[in-house]
Symmetry: C2
């Protein structure tokens, strides 16, 4: 018998989540049953999309249940195993984040279509890399930029939340492919980071009263691709500066996730007609056919020193709500992680 | 020497265009010069998109010049010819609408990339058909529904301005391909027309306080395709009722063309992320590679009695501004035309 601490959703947040919306609970975890393995989590991911699962509404993922541990990406190590495919010491990726220890039956998970317990060969990289640049985060950047926005030679690329986990990878993929990249981020530290990874123009949206005008200035000939993480005025700026046939990959709209009133839609959406714009939302899990290509490309880029990344780390499961809440204040640089092991 | 009356843009309209924005002028037209033909227009088209050309701004078509005759689709008959490829009596399609008579050099037009003077074999159909169902109007419906929205088996289709020139063709193409079609239009006459052409559910947007709720009721399982002619609350309704992977062909947004303040964007655009929606604007002139397929399909559908159409006709060039203005009050059923010949 071991114990595990876990974070449960206590209330459905109204507006920006607060500590009062979460509970820290301690539970007993029995020895793993037949076919089960026990995993001790080393790292867990917090991501803006999780805010959507805190609402009680139908979406592409079911809502988190009140009073239960939440879910999310986590990297752990097998500590006991009754499944011959998993050995003690294996590093595994799961969706059982927000807790320290869990049991699961890998075969039952797959049969239920609930996401696998995936063994990872880290190739000597820190395991948390597989939550970030080599995990869902990197894959989201890759899918959005290359498939959804269909990046092609000569495109000028605009990225919002460019210093975030996904945005910073998008910027670097576009740069290594030779594109002009404009990134938006908040504050001098993020601006400096983006310049250090080669972003051509950085808009500090916290320092400008008019993102629309600022983008028009940074991209006098317009943009061809927009990677959307923010929504609101950033989307308006992208539409305003879009050249004919521009493509916009809609990955997220963090500025709207905590909106309690009616959000403001892009008032210039009519330009999508005259400029033949394409705006397309996507969820990375629908594009896992690209995973082998992503894994190969990204491993090569990392090896060649063409992709770098930042992590912002909170320590301990009890800090997971802080880590999550900080996402909405933009307090993370790169990937926001919670260290559990 | 003959004379021609023409409509000139006097002022750039602010808000809904009025008669004061247009001038009727009479000009002398000389005998056609070398390589030129003289054409007497029989019919001209007025279309909502022309409102965009009345603004002084860059767009996919250049703005109309003040004090000059406007342009637009017209069907005429050759009355004199110094080009061996055109004979007196030929029926021709041009962009020299808004006037009664014109000279042009067909070869110079093509060389300048300014749109051809196209000879038409009417196959016994009334010539104005080639401004409507067999012309740019029908082609717009065809391209938007089949290429941009990529209609596929089982799709539920929502069409706004469904009783308009383009919308009514969209509805019929979707119906003849076996789809469930929901149309929105204003007033009992249009509702009756749409029911007569087989539209499954008609929303009278003038009779409902809540188009969003009305569409949700008409399409309890959601929609897969939206053909956008209106914008505003219609776009919000479509996004709200969209099923995952729905496609929206953005053809026009007539509710916004005369907006003098800041238009309201779709407040629920964030749903495009979670539902993987695609919103795509298009201009029919970028898709003329589909013209042969369109002409063949549409001719067959008309012959088989599967497509019908309505015309709303104003008589005489002096009535052209009225015809145009009526578009924005929704006073047309089907294609709005001005009879000149």
């Amino acid at each position: 018998m071991t114990t595990s601490r876990e974070i449960r959703l206590k209330n459905r947040p109204v507006g920006v989540p607060t500590h009062a919306d979460f509970d820290l609970a301690t539970v007993d975890v029995a020895a793993p049953g037949p076919g089960e393995v026990q995993v001790k989590n080393l790292w867990m991911s917090v991501d803006p999309y999780m805010r959507g699962r805190m609402y009680d509404r139908k979406s592409y993922s079911p809502p988190f249940e009140l009073g239960k541990a939440m879910q999310g990406g986590a990297i752990g190590q097998v500590t006991a195993s009754n499944d011959p495919d998993y050995a003690v010491g294996d590093i595994v990726n799961s969706m059982f984040g927000w807790r320290e220890v869990f049991n699961c039956s890998p075969k039952a998970l797959v049969a239920a279509g609930m996401g696998a317990l995936t063994k990872i060969d880290t190739h000597g990289l820190p395991p948390q890399t597989f939550l970030g640049v080599l995990g869902m985060t990197g894959m989201t950047a890759y899918v959005g930029l290359l498939r959804i926005a269909a990046l092609k030679d000569g495109d000028v690329v605009f990225v919002s939340a460019a210093a975030g986990a996904v945005g910073s990878i998008v910027c670097q993929i576009a740069k290594l492919k030779g594109h002009t990249v404009i990134g938006s981020a908040g504050g001098p530290e993020k601006v400096a980071f983006l310049k250090s990874i080669g972003v051509d123009h950085v808009i500090d949206y916290k320092a400008t009263p008019d993102v629309v005008a600022e983008l028009a200035k940074a991209a006098p000939k317009g943009i061809d691709v927009y990677f959307e993480n923010v929504g609101g005025v950033h989307l308006e700026a992208a539409i305003n500066s879009a050249r004919p046939f521009a493509r916009m990959a809609l990955c997220g709209m963090i500025s709207q996730y905590n909106e309690t009133g009616t959000p403001t839609g892009p008032s210039n959406i009519i330009q999508a007609v005259g400029k033949s714009l394409r705006l397309e939302g996507f969820i990375v899990s629908n594009h896992y056919d690209l995973y082998p290509a992503f894994a190969k490309d990204m491993a090569e880029w990392i090896k060649a020193g063409k992709i770098t990344w930042k992590e912002t780390v909170e320590d301990g499961i009890e800090r997971a709500p802080d880590a999550f809440i900080k996402l909405f204040a933009g307090e993370n640089m790169g990937k926001m992680l919670v260290k559990l092991g």
